[in-house]
């Protein structure tokens, strides 16, 4: 019973349902695992053991009364920009180091309703700005497969927790790849839903037109179960889709024979590691030969090369406004040593924000300034429309688009910290779908140099079902799913 933390969420649910073990036992197993590996991994900013055990007891009552749904009693890591009432929510920033929210986010409400167990608040790049989780005010997270490497980011804590068995599943958030890239680096499955599929109410905002919460799990089924829990209309988010959501788990076992896959040729030119390329080539072969898809490697998406530039104008512009509320007056870190209100505000922001956040606030402020607005923000929005059109044209011919999730495997901690542009380039394959608001999923497709590699499936708007269907079939064919990193200690 001591290694219950190795189970996937749906396996654990079966065990709980058959009363093979209790949710409290499951939670204790995970908390023990956290104690064991957290000093090396540092997946969490805050471990909420008391909350977890209480929620586990509530879940056991649900199983006893026969009212338990699939996530009841399942230990979840929650990215620390997801607002949780009464539980400190920092967004990885010193400026919110003591912020205890008075309300719950929509997604956390949904998790609670489902009876899930929150193990802790997962580490992340400050305000989700980063691709390595090194930009956390609370120290970096390590990749559980090799603790000298980054786990990816910004949802690096969430992905690492799931990979290391410090949670069975996790919630992350994705603005330009922040779920998919860490999922690829950590050998887990991560889904960025269609913009509007999951309510953003209670998600500390970074790039409001791009942010989306999504699930991370050790296999596709867990990701489908989590999406079923958090998706759906929320009247508190005006950008949330009012249409009823389908039952995503229903899509899993349908097979994908005859599915038309497009592979954008522009994505295979430079910067991709040979080992990653080999895994992607093999993945395409599996899709074509083993699963009966048609694969066309001549799809052209010429505008997507501009997606990175578009993203680095729009996201920082929105962030520059979103982060204006952190002034030390109302909540969070406040430096009051200055001799005036304005001085205190400046000192608060100077000391409260990290270097990457300041860089992006300045980028965004500049892009929106009088005289530059048309050249940057307006132009970026126009190109965003072009990128959308290209994707729409592609989806007239293909069911799904397949790309690598990231051009590299996990890189060493510190390797790209001094070169922001090299760091930004790591999101080159994930950003286009974000800019278009499309759903995309990263699924492990094998290893390169002993480290996990992820393949990305991009679908048309609202087609998470088709994505999960393909990802499930692919995962089964590859046979890499559901591996837990041992992190040295517990062999």
């Amino acid at each position: 019973m001591s290694d219950l933390w190795r189970l996937t969420g749906h396996e654990a649910h079966e065990g709980l349902r058959r009363r093979e073990f209790t949710a409290v036992e499951l939670t204790e197993s995970v908390l023990t695992r956290v104690l064991e590996v957290e000093p090396q991994v540092h997946a969490y900013i805050t471990v909420t053991a008391d909350v977890a055990l209480e929620q586990a007891r509530e879940a056991d009552a649900k199983y006893a009364s026969g009212t338990a749904t699939p996530l009841a009693g399942i230990p979840v890591a929650v990215k620390d920009l997801i607002v949780t009432k009464g539980v400190r929510t920092t967004a990885g920033s010193r400026i919110l180091e003591n912020f205890v929210p008075p309300y719950d986010s929509h997604v956390y409400e949904q998790l609670r309703r489902a009876g899930a167990v929150m193990v802790g608040k997962a580490n992340m790049d400050e305000f989700a700005m980063g691709s390595s989780t090194e930009h956390s005010a609370f120290g970096p997270t390590s990749n559980p497969w090799d603790i000298s490497l980054v786990p990816g980011g910004s949802s690096g804590g969430s992905a690492a927790a799931v990979a290391a068995g410090e949670a069975l599943v996790a919630l992350g958030s994705d603005t330009g790849g922040s779920i998919r890239q860490p999922a690829a680096f950590c050998g887990v499955v991560g889904l960025d839903p269609t913009y509007g599929r999951v309510s953003r109410f209670g998600i500390v905002a970074f790039g409001s037109s791009l942010d989306q919460v999504g699930p991370i799990g050790r296999d596709v089924e867990d990701v489908a179960v989590m999406l079923d829990c958090i998706a759906g209309h929320d009247p508190r988010d005006a950008t949330s889709n009012p249409e009823p959501k389908p039952d995503f788990r229903n899509y899993l076992a349908r097979g994908i024979e005859g599915m038309r896959i497009g592979v954008p040729k522009e994505y295979f030119v430079e910067g991709m590691e040979p080992g990653v390329r080999a895994r992607i080539d093999e993945s395409l072969r599996i899709l074509e030969q083993d699963l009966g898809c048609t694969v066309d490697r001549e799809l052209s998406l010429p505008s997507t090369e501009h997606a990175l530039a578009v993203y680095y104008i729009i996201a920082p512009s929105e962030a520059s406004a979103n982060l204006a509320r952190y002034d030390g007056v109302k909540y969070g870190f406040s430096d009051r040593t200055g001799n005036s209100m304005w001085q205190n505000m400046e000192d608060t922001r100077q000391g409260g924000f990290g270097v990457e956040v300041k860089r992006r606030i300045m980028l965004g402020t500049y892009a929106l300034s009088a005289g530059y607005y048309d050249a940057y923000y307006v132009k970026a929005q126009k190109v965003r429309t072009l990128i959308n059109r290209e994707f729409q044209a592609a989806f007239e011919r293909y069911d799904l688009i397949v790309t690598p999730t990231a051009p590299t495997v996990a890189f060493p901690i510190g390797a790209k910290l001094d070169d922001p542009y090299a760091m930004y380039l790591n999101d080159i394959y994930t950003i286009p779908a974000s800019v278009a608001g499309l759903p995309a999923i990263s699924v492990p497709c094998g290893e390169s140099e002993g480290l996990p590699v992820g393949v990305q499936f991009i679908g048309n708007f609202w087609q998470e079902g088709k994505l999960l269907q393909a990802a499930y079939a692919f995962e089964t064919a590859v046979g890499w799913a559901n591996r837990v990193a041992e992190v040295g200690g517990s062999g």
Binding site: S105, F201, D237, A238, A324, K330, S369
Partner: protein
Amino acid sequence: MTSTVAIDFETVIGLEVHVQLMTKSKMFCGCSTEYSGAEPNTHVCPVCMGMPGVLPVINERAIEYISMTGLALNCEIAGFSKFDRKNYPYPDLMKGYQISQYDLPICQNGWLDIQVPGEEPRRIGITRVHMEEDTARLLHRVDASTGEGYSLIDVNRSGTPLMEIVSEPDMRTPAEAREYLVRLRQILRYIGVSDANMEEGNFRCDANVSLRPFGADAFGTKVEVKNMNSFRAVHDALVFEQARQAEVLRSGGTIPQETRGWVDERSVTVSQRSKEEAHDYRYFPEPDLPPLRLSRDWVARVGAKLPELPAKRKERLLALGLSEDEAVTLTESRERAEYYDATHAALGDTPRAAKLAANWVLSEALRWSNVNAKDLDALPIGPGQLAELILMVEGKAITSQVAKDVFEAMAASGKGAQEIVDEQGLGAISGADELTGIVRRVIASNEKAVADYRAGKEASLKFLLGQVMRETKGRATPQVAQELIATELAE
């Protein structure tokens, strides 16, 4: 002061009016707007406090109210508009930006007709009416023990729907500016979208003033004047400002573009901010709110809710044969105008009924209104009851002198006219048999007046009539009594 100005320069005035809408809840959250007199920070929630992770949701009633305003001001209502973020740092702005509308307001290109008494009517253009949110309120205090200043924030007002009505620079005198404000407030109250009370801060006005030589086409440099808290203050500030600018210009100086504040106690404007210090608001589309689409049908339904507006009502009353003064006074407020219309209708659709109703509403009803500082919807005498009273006078069942007392008694008790007349025995005495005795008694006890009358002094007859009225407490029908006196004296 003003007369010397008029010789050389023409004054050009445009007004920006901010109006709080009377919606039950705030613009972007469910908090109540009934915070007047409430403890600070009691009508607040995470949304209007700008907590991390919150999102705005549009208050549909506010959009209805602003559309009604636009229609009442002859504006085009946009089928497609959007919200924008206006960025500026200040502690009363909870998110660090204000949700407003920049380039696509809901209402554009309208007008309002005004007429300063004794002058020609003028049509003032309405550039736009847009929707935004109010800020929190800052309370500045001084610590009694240390003498140090500090500020408190009351967030109750934060997020209250605020409508900004921008006029064209079409006004030429301070009197026109005041008349514009009076007529604008009248319309807002008529359509029931705002209390529009300047002293209470739910109707605020900033003015743009410039001078140019008479006959010139180009505008002079404009100065924005703020801090005016009454119609009188607006008028006085504009009078001051046109004199100040004229003096600067006449002595060869130039007017710098700046913002000036009206200091009521000293009756002067003082410079607050120069053009160089003006904010770059870095407007950009609000990503948290989808664009607003108002269908023609929806706009038509809103338009159908508009009451008859004051200008139209006035025209209608003039057509009934009432004088300009009567029509203006009767249509001052919607309550008064509707009271008049109902009284008129109860009296019948005749010119005489129109005049009778006007006489009574303008005299007795308005006297009650002024004494009690309430509008006529609060008068305990309903229009039907007033009509009953008027008809009793018309039918000579009571005298008009008695009728005034009956009116008072009705207002005090809420009883009907007939009931009061019956209870207090106030019916008119018009029978000769009943009056003859009284007349004889008056003649017998007023020898001098009788002698004077017989000596040819006609006025003595009026004196004797007065005595009869006094004897009957005003109940004698004057015509009958006078005839009887004359007959008796002739014998």
